[in-house]
Amino acid sequence: VCEGRKTTYLPSEQLDYVKLMALAREGPEDESSCARVAVLGFCTTHYYTQVLEGLGRSVGFPLATYESDYNAVEQAVLDQKSDLYTFNPDFVVFATAVQALRPHLLNVPPSQRLERATQEAERVCALARRAAKLPGVNVVVHKFVVPYERPWGNLTGRIEGSLSSAVRRMNEILDHLAAETANIHLVDCDHIASVLGKRAWFDERLWFHSKSFCHPDALPHVASQALDLFRAVKGRLVKCLLLDLDNTLWGGILGDEGLQGIRLGALGDGQAYVAFQAYLQELRRRGILLAVCSKNDEEAARQPFREHPDMVLREEDIACFVANWDDKVHNVRRIAERLNIGLDSMVFIDDSPFERNLVRDLVPEVIVPEMPEDPAEYVPYLDSLNLFETVQVSVEDEKRTEMIRADVQRRGEATKFGDLNQYLASLGMSAAFEPVDEYHLPRAAQLVQRTNQFNLTTIRHTAAELQQMAQDPDCRVLYATLEDRFGDSGLVSVVVGRRVGEDMEIVTWVMSCRVVSRRLEEFVLDRLVEAAREVGCRRLRGRYVPTRKNALVAGHYERLGFRRAESSPDGCTTWELDVSDYEPFDPPIRRKI
């Protein structure tokens, strides 16, 4: 979906439900390029669906939508002949409404309320689990909004069976559901309602009049977060923040005011910059790369990171440090190249409207948010854009910066060796190559979703699909890791093979760009041939499907000694390799068992 489209985002003040609904009414785009979204409501969903559609259009992620009949979620999900199944959705959204459950919860005395809440939540979970079994689907469930009313007043926290605690219990059950099911995701409506204000969220008149789960002014905020999830599922992820320094990470101009003169620390707006850095540090911990892109002398620019006592960010937190007097467009491209990531996975943060407009104009793929004038607004503003949505967390996220820094070091070392092979041999590389198990599934799915360049077919298998194939006796879902004396790169390649008669078809082959030119693909092929022989296949068949981003691997199969079998006018090529007379490449990579 949407390959090649520009991702845009809308700041929240532009979220107007009337305009978005009008946009949706302009009629469907070409349906074949749309993500298919089924909205199932325990309330009316017409406004919400229209807002979703309008928003999808305005951010370049068009949707084709389907709505279940009012309050007919069970019928839609449980009856396999229902329109839901014919619609064949990519996404199923469960629009919940705490208003619909309120009477059921209040119907029983507080002593029985948590039990009732558990039953109600389990009912939603069962439906979501059932919907999650649809082929290739991802399910999005709206969490419940904890109501504003408190008959016990400030004593509420002590009352075990209060309505608030009952609704919180339901949300915990949903959290648990999403944690244990790879293709179920949540929109935290209670968070959205809290940020907007619960009095703005709830409009009881509209619930009674038309069963609206919130005031329509809140709908775009919900839709926006649902869309962020859709995009994350489809692999549209932000991977890196490009950071200006002067008046972005600290107040004042380092070059003019000197290390002691910049505003950073416990005084005045210096606190705001510390708070912003702490927020960025947390993003780094969850796997977002931080890069410095500054007009400064490099040595001087590094000094605060090394010496200033109030800096939260240190040099080791920065994956790529670029400070010079070139124009920023040049430097943005340079950083993308060094980190080996796409321009459209980068966000450019700069207090200068001049620099923002320059980058916006000349590198339109990069996301360039406006920045508030007041640094105290940096965190609330950036956070409100919800740019960093992701549907998988992996144990490697926190180590990502460290691994990338090792890559940059490694490349520095490479220039010392004239001969690449000699250099590679000096690295002492070792790699695991194993079937994907439960422990490695999240990272494998993440890699399949994030990788654009070294990706032969760009099929975005979800974790659920990978798991399903891993259990299929005709399929092999394999991963490779890579480690050397500079550090551990972790899980960096995934291959999916499927036996079709005497052929083993390579459905998917992805590899992290961080390990390109390390001969890991040769190591993987050696192992693949072994795997093919084990299951009695005589040939490997691979396909290259060109996209805007994967030209890197156009010659992949040819380089590995495959023979071209077919070429189609759309640029797809099919390649074959006989396994009987295959000579292993034997690159200098030791297999870890």
Partner: protein, 80 residues
Amino acid sequence: VTREEILAGLGDVFCQVLGREVDLAEETTPAEVEGWDSLAHVTLILATEKRFGVKFTGAEIANAAGIGALIALIEKKLRH
């Protein structure tokens, strides 16, 4: 605020919500305005509330069928 001013204000609201110029008179009923169905009704009412800084009750939302009724309601709310 005169009834004429309210009528003009409603014209703005309808235009904004329905995305086109709408000719409104005190006698206009929903049936006479293309697009003023039960779904658009809520949007029209909420936009009217915002435009005039008033708030309708649930019953008023349900019963405000027609421009004359809307004008009368707004007049009443603005007087208090």
